[in-house]
Amino acid sequence: MMGGYGDIKLLREDGLRLDGRKVDEMREVEIEAGILPAADGSAWVKHGLNVAVCAVYGPMEAHPRKIQRQDRCVIDVRYNMAPFSTSDRIRPGYNRRSREISKVTAESLESVVLVERYPRSKIRVEIEILAAEAGTRCVGITAAAVALADAGIPMRDLIVGVAAGKIEDTVVLDLDKAEDNYGQADLPMGILPTTGEIAFLQMDGDLSIEEYNTCVEYNMKAAKEIHELQKDALKRRYEEKMRGES
């Protein structure tokens, strides 16, 4: 992440990025709600070339007993990359990376779900990455929020996963694969779009305070845009039903 790839140019002469995006432009995002018939709630998110699918089950009794909380439910997140989601096949199964992402994702979702409504219960959130092109943890969070809302789980806000970072000493929004591999910093965030609160935060690389502030500014802007798509996906699912177009 820390530079050292002197030969690789990530910004063009005209100041645009290799894929033609402006520094504060995110990749194209598409969202669908309710695409998995077996789940209580579900979502599909395509973000650039990333594809994430999320299924929500519950609330159900928390098993084993030792994970039960008398005053609230637990959110049981599994973030998983499918074996064929990356250029080199991933061996199926849990690894340290997916465990860490699952843990912090669960905690960010617990910050928006009204967990005290369901004592002793658990809500299962299954995030499956089908295609990965940098930023999958953010795409997973965006999908999880839509799937939870689709399942009728009460939440005080949706949550949007977005990332900004630094390439060639320039702050950019939404790193793609090359930028992630050869850039200087990555700052993924989970943002509550209505209130602007931050429920998920990770960072690695090297950022000045000014650069950090610019990253946050870009992330906030992108969160608003993705939030519109989340709302649209949820409303489309039901307004179509309502109008009889489904």
Binding site: D40, G41, G58, P59, M60, E61, Q70, V112, L114, Y118, P119, R120, S121, A149, D150, A151, G152, I153, P154, M155, R156, D157, L158, L192, P193, T194, T195, Q230, K231, L234, K235, Y238, E239, K241, M242, R243, G244, S246
Partner: protein
């Protein structure tokens, strides 16, 4: 489903969306107060009932409440009690004292065994969501014949209609018996033809139950279904 079909324009909201900021309104179900605003917590239709703002959710899990009529499936049996799956997060407990029969200690399975379907009421739900069921009451019993179906929680009121008007229409059209549980389960029984029409109608509800003109299209659907018998 108040608000639906009244002609007033319905507003669909998503969690986090501010519904109302004016004073003098209160937050009802499916909403919370946040500062001056009332915020939706579920995807659903906004409803204003004399200043109480609520959201009628489109999708919702069943959360048992005392007095609910439920259709349960026996999941395990002990010497003097039964546990039943009632389509909620926790099993309901039916103690021998609230069962309609007297049985010898250890003979509980002779009355109701695993997989049996029963009609019960929720006697009480405590803070930790423990559920006690009762089968003492008119009509509460083991359902030995017929068939059990599940529909989404929001369709339950649609199937009943105002004062059970829709429900009575279904009974007349199919000559079937039908029991609508508050827990998203239906029980139906009748002759072969009636059952197959009833199942088609329930499928129709599953697909069309959200729509504004649901009842009108349902009437049409039933007429068509009977004609094609």
């Amino acid at each position: 489903m108040s608000g639906a079909g009244t002609g007033a324009e319905l507003r669909l909201v998503t969690p986090g969306e501010a519904i109302e900021t004016s004073s003098g309104v209160r937050a009802g179900t499916g909403t919370i107060s946040y500062g001056d605003a009332i915020i939706a917590t579920k995807v659903g239709w906004v409803n204003n009932n004399n200043g109480v703002i609520s959201v009628d959710p489109i999708n919702s899990a069943y959360m048992p409440r005392s007095g609910d009529l439920v259709i349960g499936v026996i999941e395990s049996v002990r010497n003097n009690l039964w546990f039943a799956d009632v389509n909620g997060p926790f099993n309901g407990l039916l103690p021998m004292s609230l069962a309609p029969w007297k049985v010898e200690f250890g003979a509980a399975r002779e009355q109701m065994d695993i997989g049996d379907v029963m009609l019960a009421r929720v006697q009480e739900v405590d803070e930790a969501h423990n559920i006690v069921l009762t089968m003492k009451g008119v009509g509460l019993r083991r359902l030995k014949e017929g068939f059990m179906l599940e529909v989404s929680m929001t369709h339950i009121s649609r199937i009943r209609g105002d004062n059970d008007s829709t429900l009575n229409m279904l009974k007349d059209a199919t000559d079937c018996r039908i029991i609508v549980g508050d827990n998203g389960r239906l029980w139906i029984d009748g002759d072969s033809e009636g059952l197959s029409v009833m199942k088609k109608i329930i499928d129709f509800v599953r697909n069309e139950g959200h729509k504004e003109n649901f009842k009108a299209t349902l009437v049409e659907f039933i007429e068509d279904a009977r004609r094609n018998l």
